[in-house]
Structure formats: structure tokens, C-alpha cells
Symmetry: D2
Amino acid sequence: MGSTFGQLFRVTTFGESHGGGVGVVVDGCPPNIEISATDIQSDLDRRRPGQSRVTTQRKEKDRCEILAGVFEGRSLGTPIAMVVRNEDARPDDYAEIAEKFRPSHADFTYEVKFGVRNWQGGGRASARETIGRVAAGAVAKKILASLYSNFEIVAYVTQVEQVVAVVDRSAVKQADVEKNVLRCPDEVAARAMVALIERVRAEGDSLGGVIECVVRGIPPGLGDPVFDKLDADLAKAMLSIPATKGFEIGSGFAATRMLGSQHNDPFEIRGGRIRTATNNSGGIQGGISNGEDIFFRVAFKPPATIALRQRTVTRSKKETALAARGRHDPCVVPRAVPIVEAMAALVLCDHTLRQRAIAPDNRGSKPAGAKAKQSRSRARG
Amino acid sequence: MGSTFGQLFRVTTFGESHGGGVGVVVDGCPPNIEISATDIQSDLDRRRPGQSRVTTQRKEKDRCEILAGVFEGRSLGTPIAMVVRNEDARPDDYAEIAEKFRPSHADFTYEVKFGVRNWQGGGRASARETIGRVAAGAVAKKILASLYSNFEIVAYVTQVEQVVAVVDRSAVKQADVEKNVLRCPDEVAARAMVALIERVRAEGDSLGGVIECVVRGIPPGLGDPVFDKLDADLAKAMLSIPATKGFEIGSGFAATRMLGSQHNDPFEIRGGRIRTATNNSGGIQGGISNGEDIFFRVAFKPPATIALRQRTVTRSKKETALAARGRHDPCVVPRAVPIVEAMAALVLCDHTLRQRAIAPDNRGSKPAGAKAKQSRSRARG
Amino acid sequence: MGSTFGQLFRVTTFGESHGGGVGVVVDGCPPNIEISATDIQSDLDRRRPGQSRVTTQRKEKDRCEILAGVFEGRSLGTPIAMVVRNEDARPDDYAEIAEKFRPSHADFTYEVKFGVRNWQGGGRASARETIGRVAAGAVAKKILASLYSNFEIVAYVTQVEQVVAVVDRSAVKQADVEKNVLRCPDEVAARAMVALIERVRAEGDSLGGVIECVVRGIPPGLGDPVFDKLDADLAKAMLSIPATKGFEIGSGFAATRMLGSQHNDPFEIRGGRIRTATNNSGGIQGGISNGEDIFFRVAFKPPATIALRQRTVTRSKKETALAARGRHDPCVVPRAVPIVEAMAALVLCDHTLRQRAIAPDNRGSKPAGAKAKQSRSRARG
Amino acid sequence: MGSTFGQLFRVTTFGESHGGGVGVVVDGCPPNIEISATDIQSDLDRRRPGQSRVTTQRKEKDRCEILAGVFEGRSLGTPIAMVVRNEDARPDDYAEIAEKFRPSHADFTYEVKFGVRNWQGGGRASARETIGRVAAGAVAKKILASLYSNFEIVAYVTQVEQVVAVVDRSAVKQADVEKNVLRCPDEVAARAMVALIERVRAEGDSLGGVIECVVRGIPPGLGDPVFDKLDADLAKAMLSIPATKGFEIGSGFAATRMLGSQHNDPFEIRGGRIRTATNNSGGIQGGISNGEDIFFRVAFKPPATIALRQRTVTRSKKETALAARGRHDPCVVPRAVPIVEAMAALVLCDHTLRQRAIAPDNRGSKPAGAKAKQSRSRARG
């Protein structure tokens, strides 16, 4: 259990870091959405290892194959299955960890939970599992873009350890993010972050950071009272990403130090529409989108795998020590940017379908495949 | 949709702030758990309005009736239905809000989402909905206590605006929390918080704060890879509580400023068991409990309802102003403490049942009703 | 678990035959559907005991109270909670069954499963649980009627023991069904059935029968490949009704004796639309509605409660005998007609919402509340 | 949606008849269950085309690859992903059906539902989809066999058109079933069925039939009140199989012609245990297993694909005619036997896990992996 995400747009990932491969089944994709392997691959390439000097140097091509659910470039409305074969497996790196529990990894908890473990690597706790999420997220982005004309989802690094970027959240574009390997739109901060990461990597240590994500073009009305609030589902989505330790929406923890009169977002009429003058709510009120930009931040801890020697224990309860060998990410945030985007897209796509199911008026939310209605009407007679 | 929480321990709340009543159906409660109306009422009393000078002065008795699922003081294994009648409704307080959207409330988003709204009050977005959660949480606590001998769940206020409490997380007990109306175990900070709240209330304004929660006695192995990580489900649970803006587990956002070598929790043998020397993980590694204390923090914004005059708009898109009348909470954190506990209990109970389903060995996790096995064996022959 | 039905239109029933009451929570009802207690009560009255000489003579008023989710006569889009109080409880009838397992009842299986049982009556296995289903079904019928202009759902008795009715399935109306207490549109057969039931009741025995149900006005396209086929979900819905033993859709078991050339339904153009010339498919092909009438049959066994003396055993494994006292249904089919309709409505309503979520074109499927779009547009600006 | 089955043992199939391949993800498999590709292949071989003279002559090897979730011959507790590549695709057979709707196939309903269709074959409605079910069913059987010492599941053909077999349900074994190509344990009837099928195939027509399934060794207590009754879930499982038209449990439709005094199963003490003297209940009472053999029957219509010329219409609403070319099954029941078994195993496995979650006493239901508890205890300390 636990490998499926979403109620209507249901994403099931599978696969260990070692073994045949990893992948995903997306059930609930509306029909007639244009989907190509290229769309998927483009996001996978932003996630994959070895893409730049601040990530792990492991080379994995992560070629995605669409096995089912797409025909002549369009979704069929049936499950979309995508697989990426595993390669570059070097289980000898991992011989030691069959016996020793790596500190702050999932080795110990998996072993206790299941009584068995694929000790060749991180198993399902490996970042490699997120390939399926990113592939599914690419599909979700296509659906959202087909429905919402101004839809945009932009995540970026705002902090690495003490280095904090200055980013204009209302203006930042994905092109700004992709300008550097850090995926930080503040070029000055990005350079400092790169330098910091390279120094800490050389020391055999690792660094944490913060990713911020802004979503534009989401209409008001997404999100369900009371448990499936849009921000609650985003929180779950983000905390399900490996190495995350916190989530905040809109004003976040800073809200705890504000007065109500400062925090409340006054309503006003702007451009003929009901808008809020400020956006401490982060685009969500009472768990439901209000039409403003949705934004949130996610805290990532420093990766647990470090070259420095650490205390630990063996499976047979002997105290020992361990130092990671091989090639690892000294800081995950640059590669985690597309994962954050993907998980946000999954949540928004699911809630979009949920809202379509009950909306009194579905105007303005027809998918790209609306043109297919001719053939459908034809068929229906 | 959205009113059900949990996979196996399934909690469905219902009810608006105005109308017949609010309540909850708990499906999936194991049989033979001792449950009494008193158990439920005790937590409801910690949540209800009018309990102290720092909460709203509205008086609501919130008497809980168990309609089904309990027989002769024990759960039947069938749905437990609990209802609290609404009373003290004063819809004239709310006549104005039928037309004007209250800033940072859910009035606008509900109206856009549903095209209809119970304008007599907050509807499902009202804190009154949490009655059902607290009642269900009381049931969950009974189940957890019957399974885990050292089980304890303690939430408390650690911050109100700028006032920060000093609390020994490893030692704090519920009795320490209930010593003052603030539910803050640091008596000095509690007094400052009370004074602050009284001053801000007099000014017609409101305050935010932070609640920390620690859970003890949870065995290793709870939580499911990959989406239903224990911390991911806790994050969702907490962000589904009205007025929350952020969640962090263990080291939380502070982790982003630490090095891996500082953050990793070394394993050691202590008391003959595998333990971690530190607990930056917050008791959860790879989404699965590791047997250490689980702890997390939740950010609450200042309540949106304030007596100060605010700008807003009407349903017919005229700009106007609004000032709340009546009796409201100037700061929700004291009353939110049992809600945080309840939601944590729901998550832990659900994952407990999930783990029982697949655990290779269920020893040590027999519910209190294990004695019922005699009658069962008898029945089975 | 197991008390919730549906993916988007989620119905959770609760309540034992004895105790505070029974009821239902309906989550996922679209907003702005006209719903009144009278709508609900009308179907409950067709289900309740004591309504005619062929049912049990127990008198239960089964008055339904709507606790939440409806405001000013319209659904809010939030959970609709409905409760019926228990009354006329005579637990002394049941003292004996605390010790003796009634043959072909659920006493034994509940006791083995849960290790505890409400021995005052049938608990959740009581037909009284179906009150919640019928109430939820009444809501579902309102939704379906608001969406599909020619929607009609008509169930009726076609067989009691050896007496088989002749019914024109394409023409039968609910008024024809309600003309007699048997709910059998063939008056001649109905009279024979009544006579048979009265004779068998006098003998202390009971009778089985068959209910057929036809649904008109369902558009093509409802039902999901591959597990949630419309007929698969109808089968589950029907087999979840107490005392059912079989289900068949369209040609049913008779199909097993036909050749493909006889069984296939040729397509033709009729009234400008694609239609089938015959309807052995029962309105469903590949698990998806094809626009023709949907029809199916459900087999009901004779009620297990009979006045005749029967062999059984006690909880302490002694062989003994038992004869039911009190007032019981000698044949459940007349009262089961509204239950079959209700369960069919739940399935169709759920799949309607599911199809709305993905449909490339939602034209023609706007709910009655479509007029609410003005206020919504107004709100949206 | 609709491609996932089960609550705890969750099976998601994917794949069209044409395209990359078909497969399944099984989430919720307990850890430490012995699973090999051979186990899976053995059931797939019973399902595949071309296995005998009474099935289609298409040759498909249907080689199953396990991509994830199994390590060193044991389940990891993580999703098991299995894929079978498509081959032997001859889309030229299907050019005609891109335009013409095949009668009593899902071509028309898929096109109306989705507005798009993989016209190269039956898409998801193809029997090829059931490969994923059979593979998942093979896993489920391994789990059930590891938990229940006398577990056995035996399905067989009891009827083809008018030819009815005589089978001793209480004694029949899988070896008896596999003795002939019909999978009918009555050799005389089997020969008549083979002759009938060969004749009807020569005539270009097709035949229906009935499969009966008996499950032995299931303990009392599986199945949930009220919607997820064990028989309700079996009914859904069976009606989700392509070409099915009916389901009956135990006495089935015959129950409708019996008196309560004949139908009730008296309890007695046999072998020191509480047993029923007869088994009209089919092993399930009140939706919960009672420890007796579970048995049910499934009706299959004659396959829709026939060589005889049939009336139909085109996508552009012209009336036309169609005759199937190529190699097709004249009667599906011999190949459907392993599918019925698989779906039954999925239901029983899911309910087994569900019962483990709440059972007051889990003794006697430890999976094969119980020996893993040593290493687990070791790990836990």
C-alpha cells in the first residue's frame, strides 16, 4: 500500500533503485490529451543524475517508454503506463550496507517494517522512485495546460544552507529558473550556492535547502472541504518527497507572528473580478483555491549519504562505523525542483477532475480534446 | 467529497456550524475496544468554546451522543456514529455576511466552488466541524493505548506571536499542558501569552501561534512507502485543520541550515535496542516510524474574524467594509491543542491497522480486546 | 470498514437494528440539488415494515431527519447526514439469540469475525441498515432526474417461488408497480403471490423471489474499464443487499444457452441515432452504458427467520433447537423493491459524476442547479 | 479510473491489446512471500491463446517479466510490477473495425465514452487485459496458500450451451480439471462440449457457458458488513470479467424457489467445530465466510466475434454489415477458468489482509515469512 496518489487522477509508482526498472501507471487521465514521449523525457532530464557539476556524477539516461494508454499521440482515457529501465547499477558499492544501517536512511525502518529489504540500494526509498512521479507530473501538466489558458507552474531554489535568494515571486518564469544549474533565479545567490556546494562536497558533507513553488492560472474553486483541502493535499504531496522536513503555504510560519489585521487579505474589485489585495493566503482559503497565485515552500534536509565517517550499528546489533563511497548528491534541491513541480501538478490535476465532477457549470474547463466532440457527436448520433 | 480521512480507520465528519448538528462516523474501529461517552466528552470539553477567558465566550455544551457501533461499553467493529446537536445559534450575527465576503474566510471560495452557501455561519469551514475529528480522535487514542503500552500523545502551545515557550520535549506530560488555560507548559511564557491575547482582543485584533506535538510509545514500522509516508499523512492531517499555514517534522525548516554530518542521527545500541543518538528525524525515517519519539510543529495564522473594520466586497461585486460582531477567538491555539492531538491519533491509528494487515509477526500488537479471543475460540470451535 | 459505497458519490451507512438509530452520510452530492425530507420519506415509506399484510407487522414510522448538508431546500455540496431513530425495540424477543446462533443468519459469522456482537437483534446485518441506503438512493434519484430528462428507474417483483409474472419490461411504470402490495405489475400473478405468501406465513415458513429492475434515460458512456464496469458495480450493489443470492444483467444466465449470432445486438440507425435492434446486452457493453434500457434481475432467498423449529448450536457449542417468535417478513421482495432501486441509483449517480470528471464535452449533463451559475459568475467577477 | 481492484491488496492493470504491452502493479503484497516468474507463468499459460484446439489459434507466448517488488525470490512488501510484451499483432485484421462498430463489442461504447479509441483491436476491452489479473491472481494464491493450510481454489466448466456436466463439487481437484482441454471434470460432458464447439466454430458461430468455482480452506470471518460483503465483492470481481452476464452464490437463483425451512443451513457440531449441515449459503452468511466451502457460478455469453455476417453501423452512421476474419475463440469458458480463479483469489486475499488489520487475535494467520521474524526481532533489538 501507499504507492498510489490521487482520487480521480491516480498515480501508482513502482520499482526499486535496483532490479528491472521503475515506472508509473496513471489511471484517470482524460482522453484526447496530446502526450508524447518527448514531453515526459524533458522533465525526466531535469531530474536525472549527472546533469551538472552540482549533482551526483552517476550517469543514467533514464529513457522513458510509454507502454500503454497513448495512441497516435493522444491519451486514450485508459491507464498510461511508463517504464524506465534500471542501468548503471553497481551493487558492489552497496555490499557494506547489506549489514550496516546507514544513519538517517530508511534501511533500518524498512527492515523492521517488512522483515526483508533489497539491500542493493535504497529500494523504494531511493530518489530513483521519483522518476515515476516526474513522468506522471508531465502528463498532469499537459492536462492542466489544456484546461487553463494561463496555467504555469514554476519551482525554484530559494535557499541553500545560509545562502538566501531574492526572487520576485509574481514574475519569475521557468526560463529564469533553468538559466543556471542551481535552478535558482537569483544569479548572484546561485553562484554562491554553487561555490558552497562544491566546497562542502569536497569536505565529504552535504547541504539542505528550500524550494519555493508558484502556480499561476488556477481558477477559484479547486480543493475540497474538509480533509482534502488543496493545501492539505499539497502538504502531503510535498512531505512524500524524500528528504523533506517541512511545508508552508502562503505566509506560512511567518503568519504566527502577524496580527489578524495584517494577515487578512482584503477583497477588492480588480479588472472587473473579485481579487485579494494581498496574498498571505497563498491562493487558498478554507482549503479552496481563490484564483490568486498559489505558492508554497518546501524544506529539504541535507542528504543522509555523506563521505564522512559516521557511527552506526549492524543488523546483528553491533556498533560500528560507516563512510559512503561512490557518487552522491551533496545537495538535492537542484534536482528536486522538477519533483516539486510534478507533485504539485498531480494534486492540481486530481482536484481539477474532482471539481469537474460536481461543478454546476463546466464552461471554460473543456480539455484540449474538446474538438473530439464532433466525432463523438457523430458516434452518438 | 473530502470529508473522509483514513484508509482503514476511516473517519467521515458531517455538519455545518448551523443546522441540525455536527458529527462523525468512524468505520474500521477494531472490535472490543472499551469506549464510553465520557472518554469522548473529555476531549470535546478541551475543544469547546467558552472554556476559559482566552477563548471565545460563546457557550456551547457540545454534548456527544453515541448513536451506533458501541454496545455494553465496547466497540462492535461496526461504524461508530456520534452526533452533537447545534445550539446557541444566533444567525442574526450573520445576516451581513450573507452578502459580504469576510476577508480570509472561506465565504468567497465556497460560493465560487458550490454556487450555494449556508450563509448563516462558516458552514463546513467552521471550527465547529472539528468536533467530529476530536470525537473520532478520542476513539483512536483508546485503540492506540490498548495496543502500545507506553503510548502517549501530548500537544502544547510553544509560541503566540513573539512569545516563545521553553519546553522539555522529552519530558512534558499532558498534566503539564492542562495546568493553564493557554495549554503551554512553560508557566512564565503562558502568563505572557495570556496578557498578550487579552490586550490584542481588546484592540479588536487577533494572534497566531505554534503548537508542537510529541507522540511516545509508537513502535518502529508504521508508515507506508512512498506516498503514504507517516510524516506525509501527518502533514496532510495538520494542514486540514482550519487556520493552519505550515507543518514541520523533527528538525523541520531548521534542517535546511544544517550539514549532513550534523543532521544525521547516528545509530547506537541503547538498552539492548537499536536507537538513534539524536532525533533530528523526528521519529520517522523514509516515511516510517523508527521507534523514537515522533514530534512535529504546526503553524496557525491569526483568526480571520476580527472586530476591526476591514475592506471587502459584496456578492454583487461592490466594494464595501465589514467589522465582525459577536464573540470570537482572539487566538485559536489553546483550543486547537486537542484537535492537533486528535488528527495525529487518526493518522497513527490508521497506519497501525495498515501495518497489522501485512506485518510478518503481529505479536505485541494485540488490542485490549484480546481477551475476547476466548469467546471467539469458543464460537469457532 | 465496508460501510462506504461509491468513489465520488460516497455513501456511508451506520447503525444497528437496536441502539440509538440508523442513518447515512452522503458525501459528494453536487450542490444546488433540490432535496426535501418529503422526497426521502416517500422512499423510506415504501421500505418500512408494517406497510401491508404481506410484510412483517412490526410498526416502525422510520421518520428521517436531515441533520446537515441541505440548506433552504437545496444541497450544499457538503455531506448530507440523515438519521432515523430506532423505536419499537423489543429486545426480549431476542434474549434467546444471545446464546443460540440462528441458522443462515449472520449471528455466527459476526461473532467469529468480531469476537463481540449486539445480540439484541441483527446488528448491521439487519434489514434496518438498508434505511440509510434508501435515503441515500432518494438523493441519488434527484440528482439523476436533474441531469437526464427521461430518467426513470422501475423495479418490481417478477417471481415468488413458483409464481412467475408476465411484465412488459419496456413499458412498465412505477405506478403499475405500486398498484398492489406485492409490487408486481402483473395483477393476476400478484394475487397468486399474495395468497401463497399468506399460506406459507401461516405454516411458519418463508419464500424467496426475484426482482427485476429497468433503468431508462441513461446516456451512453457511463461505466469504467476494467474493474469498475457498470454491470460489475451493479452486481456488487445488489449482492450487498441482505438475502440476495444472484444477479444477472440483460440476457443473464440464459445467454449461456444462446449462439453468438442470436445473442449479438445488431447496431442500426433509429431516430437518427445509433441504437441496437435487440437488447441482450441489457444496456451495457464492455462495462459501459450504450444508451439502451439497462435491466437486470436479482435473486432473493427465503428469509432465514421462520417460526418452524430448526436445529442449531449455542455459543458454547451445544446442539439445540430454535423457533423464531415475533413478527417477521415471510417474503422480502415487496419491501426490497425500493432497496434495489436505491442501490441502482447509487451506482448510476457515482458513475455519472465519474464520467463528468473526464468527459470531453459536458453539454447536456448540467444539473438542475445550472441556474446557480449566474450567482456564481457574479461571485467570480 | 476503474483499473484498480482491492482496498489493501491493490491490483492495477494496464495495457491495450495492441501497443507496447500489458501488465499489472500489485501494491499491498505482504513481504517475504515466495514468488517466482514460474509461479506466474504457469497460470498465464492456462489463460493464453493457442493452447488447444478449442481456443483461438493465435499464438502468443505471453512471457511475464517481473520488473519490481521481488528480490531473491521473495516479495519485498513494495509494489510488484509485471509486464507482458505484445506480439503477433496483425492490425490489418482490424482496419475495417476502425470504421464499423462490431455488434456487442465495446467499440461503440468506448468511442462514445472517450471520444477516441485504439481501433487496432479491443483496447482495454480485449481479453488480453486479463493477463494482468491472472498474474496478480497467481501472487494472491501464493499468499493465501502461505496463510491457510488447506487452501484450494478450483474452477471448472459445468456447462456449454445445452451440455451440462455432472461434478462432485466437494471432491473436485484442479488435476481433474486440467485433464482435458475443456477444463470440465466430467469427461463425458467434456467430449460432447468439444464436439459442439468444433461444430459451431465451423459454422462461424460461438457458444456461451458456465464456470463454477469452489474455494476450500478459508477460515470463518472474512468479508465486511455491509457493502463489502464477501459475496458482493466476488460478484463484482466476476462481472468485471469480459463476456460475463450473471453470478450466483451458493443456492443462487434456485433459492428463489425454495422455502426457508429447506434453504436454511442448520448448525451442528462436527469434528468438535461449529459447522453447517448443508451449504445453501455457499460458505458465506451475512457477507462473511463461515468456514464452509465457498462456491459460486458465473455465466458467460457466447463471444461477440463471429465469422457470420452481421448488421451494424459505421462511425458516420451508415448502416452496413460486418463479418469477423481471423482467429477467435468460439467459446471462452476453457480459457476463462484461470481468470475466474484469479479474480476469486484477489477478493479473498484483500479480505484476508483486511481481517488481519482488525482481528482480535491473529494467531494461525501468519504468512510464510513468519520465519523472518527472527531477523526482525534482531533488528528491533
